[in-house]
């Protein structure tokens, strides 16, 4: 039975690959393939679940494919099946199936018909990878695909300003969640000295003794997991991205933000519950997050005058309750709550365009003049306060910007002088010197080693922050990013004796190809358009769709999406940072956090948004 698990990951992948084969005009084939594949998944899953239940519903685990293996490190795919998987996979397949049928007609004649179905199928693949994942690595792969497909679907109307802007906003938070997951993965490597599977986490005795042994580190791992879940499920204080993510087609908003994507935080908590359940402080933490979210999101939902935003906050409030339920151990309740909420919000989002007509009609027949209470009372004052706070979404958006992104930008601007030609030449020379030092590694005094790797890591981090604030020249920004990544590899290589050439090559190979491809695309764009500035959105995809696609692939490869060898490279690289290396891990983390944002920012600014050459109809900025 275990062997069947892989099917439910490969069927969606097959669907995605098949859907790439058609032209945009072949609507019936594209949608036909999409819902046949998802329908197949749904049917297969239903049969599987029934027979699984009949066979006693025991947990299934399948160690699948080993990517990489050396003495202590083994990176492999692992699939897992329990009641949470069953519920999430089933609801996911059913909702995706229904929404695909809905979209078949709804998106008729849309310029991005094919793009939509491709992306939804890729999302569905990522979702299933995450849901069936049996270890952190597999989960992380799914998580990454969810992030990227979210970005693509939010920016679906890519020639408009707001969708693109909000897609960037969402992906930056998603990326933060990904990085938190990566950190907990890193830490758990060091704690368990192996790549732990979720099945092993079910062993209560093992987990408890482990936590007692490394309380501090375990707490760190769990905190990272919880933050990741909090972001994914748009819990406080990360809620404001959700309503902003509803810029894509109504149908994809319904799947992603109404039902599936947004509940994955709950799934992550369910999946890892045996790990954190014995840590009281974490349990309390999750309850506090859930409770705060529930109250605040309900208050915000009260004052929303747009239908979709109201649904979004109402859904967030319910997910807050689910957090509490998970923490209290009521897992069956959570699963039913999830399914009900997912169906309800999907339906409400899909019919949201008719709400207006319904309410106007209702108002005509049932209107009674509103009564406004304008007496000066304390309660009234409190209510007004909550009203205004709700309109401002409790300043969550501004707060995140101020606390999270502005410091990065400030540092980037402070060291902006490093982006001058002279400075870059110096840095390149230093890098070559670093390489030479590395090759004479054995003869170096260890103190020098110590300082050098931190210095290189710092340079790497600063460079990426500079690329993040570069406004003028995309090619320069791209070059800085490349240099920064090479510094990053060198820093870790210098530190660690066991970091082999082979492993470095694994990471660098993907990196170099991506760097070359990306540079090529930018060069061509420069020749065609004469300038590649980053001070606004330029929408060049209108004239250069192929170039845009090539560059996007380069970006994905650069951030080590799991289709390049770099994905394993990055995993290995983190493994080589020791758990006491606080400075190095902090700098490397920031590096990887900003990396994705920096490259996607280049992509978005150059290729997306309203086309700068206004020779054809464009949408207003506020639309």
């Amino acid at each position: 039975m275990e062997q069947l698990l892989q099917l439910f990951v490969f069927i969606p992948l097959l669907g995605f690959v098949l859907s790439l084969l058609f032209a945009n005009r072949q609507e019936k084939l594209i949608s036909g393939v999409a819902y046949t594949i998802v329908g197949l998944q749904l049917a297969g899953l239903s049969v599987f679940i029934v027979s699984w239940l009949l066979h006693g519903a025991s947990i299934l685990n399948l160690k699948h494919f080993v990517f990489y293996k050396e003495d202590t490190i083994e990176i492999f795919l692992d699939f897992y099946f329990d009641k949470s998987t069953a519920m999430f996979a089933f609801v996911g397949a059913l909702i995706t199936f229904l929404v695909l049928i809905f979209s078949k007609y709804y998106l008729h004649r849309d310029e991005g018909y094919k793009r939509f179905f491709n992306t939804v199928l890729l999302f569905f693949f990522g979702y299933n990878v995450a849901v069936f994942a049996g270890n952190f690595e597999t989960l992380f792969i799914g998580w990454e695909f969810l992030g990227i497909t979210s970005f693509l679907l939010i920016a679906f109307y890519r020639d408009r300003y707001l969708p693109v802007k909000n897609a960037l906003k969402t992906i930056s938070l998603y990326r933060l969640g990904d990085i938190c997951l990566l950190l907990s993965l890193w830490m758990s490597h060091h704690l368990w000295h192996e790549n732990i599977t979720f099945l092993q986490l079910e062993d209560v005795g093992l987990v408890n003794s482990h936590i007692n042994e490394h309380y501090g580190f375990a707490l760190f791992t769990i905190t990272m997991l919880v933050i990741s879940a909090t972001i994914k499920s748009a819990q406080f204080p990360f809620s404001s991205w959700l309503p902003r993510a509803m810029e894509g087609p109504t149908t994809s908003s319904a799947v992603f933000y109404g039902s599936l994507s947004v509940h994955l935080g709950v799934f992550l908590l369910l999946r890892t519950h045996s790990y954190w359940e014995s840590v009281e402080v974490m349990k309390v933490g999750i309850i506090v997050i859930g409770a705060a979210t529930t109250i605040i999101a309900s208050l915000i939902a009260n004052v929303q005058a747009t239908v979709k935003t109201q649904i979004a906050y109402a859904s967030i409030a319910q997910i807050g309750l689910m957090f509490i339920e998970v923490a209290l151990g009521w897992h069956n309740l959570v699963l039913v709550h999830f399914a009900g909420n997912a169906f309800l919000r999907t339906y409400q989002l899909l019919v949201s365009p008719s709400v207006l007509g319904y309410l106007i009609h209702d108002q005509v027949f049932n209107y009674s003049p509103k009564k406004y209470d304008t007496k000066r009372t304390f309660a009234g004052k409190l209510r007004n306060t909550f009203y205004l706070l709700g309109i401002k979404e409790w300043n969550m958006d501004a707060l995140l910007k101020k606390a999270l992104w502005n410091p990065f930008k400030r540092v980037g601007k402070m060291f902006y002088f490093m982006s001058s030609n002279a400075a870059l030449i110096v840095l390149s020379i230093v890098y070559i010197a670093g390489l030479v030092i590395f090759s004479f590694y054995e003869t170096l005094p260890p103190q020098l080693d110590e300082t050098l790797h931190l210095l290189f890591s710092l340079i790497s981090m600063l460079l990426i922050l500079i690329a993040f604030v570069e406004r003028k020249n995309a090619i320069r920004a791209w070059g800085i990013i490349i240099l920064s990544q090479f510094y990053c590899v060198l820093a870790i290589a210098l530190l660690n004796d066991t970091y082999e050439y082979g492993e470095i090559a694994l990471y660098a190979s993907g990196l170099i190809i991506a760097a070359i491809v990306g540079s090529y695309a930018l060069r061509k764009l420069l020749i065609a358009e004469r300038h590649v500035s980053l001070d606004d959105f330029y929408g060049h995809i209108y004239h250069h769709p192929k170039l845009a696609f090539v560059f996007l692939l380069a970006c994905f490869a650069f951030v080590s999406l799991p289709f390049t060898p770099s994905f394993i490279g990055i995993d290995l690289m983190f493994t080589h940072i020791d758990k006491e290396e606080y400075l190095l891990i902090t700098m490397t983390t920031i590096n990887f956090l900003v990396l994705e944002l920096a490259v996607l920012r280049i992509y978005a600014r150059l290729f997306l948004g309203p086309h700068k050459k206004q020779t054809h109809p464009i949408a207003y900025r506020s639309s």
Binding site: L98, S298, A305, Q310, L344, L359, P617
Partner: protein, 683 residues
Amino acid sequence: MKKEVFDEHHVLHELKHYLPTQTPLKDFIHHNSLHAFQQMKFYDAIFKASKIFGYQVTLPLVDFRNLYQIGRIDNEVLERVIEEKKGKGNLTIWKQHVINKNYDEHNAQRVGLLRANWKKIYQIELDNLIQPFLFRVLAGYLDQGVSIWDFPAGNMTFLESIKWIERESFTSFFKTAKAKKLLFQNDLTITDLLKIVVGKEEYFEQYLFDQQFSHRGWSGMVATLEARPDALLSPKTISLNDLIIFELLLEIDHLENELGRKWKPLCESITQEPIDLFKEVANTELHEVLKIWQDAFEWSYYDEVLAGIQQLSKSKQNPETSEPVSEVKSFQAMFCIDEREDSIRRHVEFIDKKSETWGSPGFFGVEFYFQAEHAKFYDKLCPAPVTPAYLIKEYDVSEKRNHDILYTNKTHQLISGFISAFTFGFWAGIRLVQNLFKPKMSPAISNAFAHMNEQGKLTIENKNINDRENGLQIGFTIEEMTTRVRGLLNGIGLKSDFAPLIYVVAHGSSSANNPHHGAHDCGACSGRPGSVNSRVFAFMANHVEVRKRLTESGINIPDKTQFVGALHDTAADEMEFYDLDVLNEVNAKSHLLHVETFERALDLNAKERSRRFASINTKEEIKKIRKAIKARSVSLFEPRPELGHGTNTLCVVGNRSITKGLFLDRRAFLNSYNYKLDPEGSF
């Protein structure tokens, strides 16, 4: 005496003139967003509007050239247009320009240039900082019932309400004390604030246009609501002045917050001179080329239509091909002039050769407000510019309106949401499956036939002129009815040869998931179905007293002739007939036959429409197509059950014989008119 450079009152007036007249979607009005330019010549107007506001006013050059390549723009026509415009001698050179020459088509609009300097000089994106918040406040204030909580003190004017919240809460709209203090300053004017933000008066007008046109939709809505507060059911008092003051305060607040003391009024840091947005727009060669293309495109199409009309009249003169015109008419049917009725009229005439159809704007000359039973408000049922003095009320309706909790905000609160997840949640899943595979009518779908209850009664006749409600006379007096019936019959030229049955067919449209569904209803009825109008007109024309008075003015309708009101749902392709109990025995019988005719015409109409729908196989059996068309109108996933006015290209005013039998592909407005009956042109 020193002349004021900036006249606040005047500039506000200008702004309102140029902003789009954006009404709430409750009443759908087909609106010309270039109305402010309508006194100018067509091409001057559109190119001027385009230069000032950045509107896209023609197809892009490349599209015209493609149309030429595929033959939709005819070479002969193109050459003729060039010769007419540029002279024979210049044909070669202009043809070269038109077809091959490269132009820089980038249209640098005037509006927005001044305000863009905030970003250039201070790297601050005011629109990004302010607009999301501003729109949420506006939406909250104007909200009609989506939001769960009402806007605090929403009964005051917009600005007073803002002040109230600012005073009576523990938080603030603003981040800085400066903006807050300004808000409470006595007699605060736009000019005061502009002095702070912009500085010199010469720039004020341009700045305000830049600012308001960065969100022209919202500003247009506010300006419209200021002029017509009754466009909202739950009343709100808002003005453009209030909006601008609030927005300027937010600008000051954000500038102050982001830049502290580091900013000066905008005009002190720029060298750019103020520009007159409305100064003449130079005519360019590109404009000339576009004009030629546009004319050639239009004439290529008209040429085909006129050739068709010519061919038709030739074949009618030819005794071998022409069909004999029947002296005895089986029935006559009046339809709205709407282009979607073009096809059904053709099919009706084809199926019943003795029938005759007429076209007239779908409110059938009767203008009034309608109050459905139990409704708290009136619906206007006539063209938008008309303000009716009459009210028609519905009574004796037994049917109850259904509710649907999933469409309300009742499931969006904490506890209700929790309970809903475990109950309605699963129900919603089932309903979604049901709607996808077997769509059917539900309370949330806007149903054209539900506009008026078929069984209900209407207060059409006014017997006592003191019978009034809110300044409106309830029903029409005999004289008023006569005037309206006479007006319509004169207008379309139907003054003799009356058939025994005359149908008055209004139209409406059902659609399931489309906030703009009003755009598919009857434009002559303010975006609503015209069922009440058709019923009212039929009643009037059947009225004995009215008939008497019509005879006095030369319109002699035989006693055996009866009028029947009807509604055609243009999305579902279904028809409903009203007040059939008044028909005499003979007519009641023949009506049943005519219903057959209409049914077959609807089948054919559905088939004709299905050619354009990817979801329907147009080669299917005709009844299946009809079913599929019906399903389209109640499917949630189909926001465009029909294509509305997207295909409209023609307006034919004249006798039906000009176009009878001609395939105009549902693109023509057809208004019946007989010039012979109107020598003075008074109709």
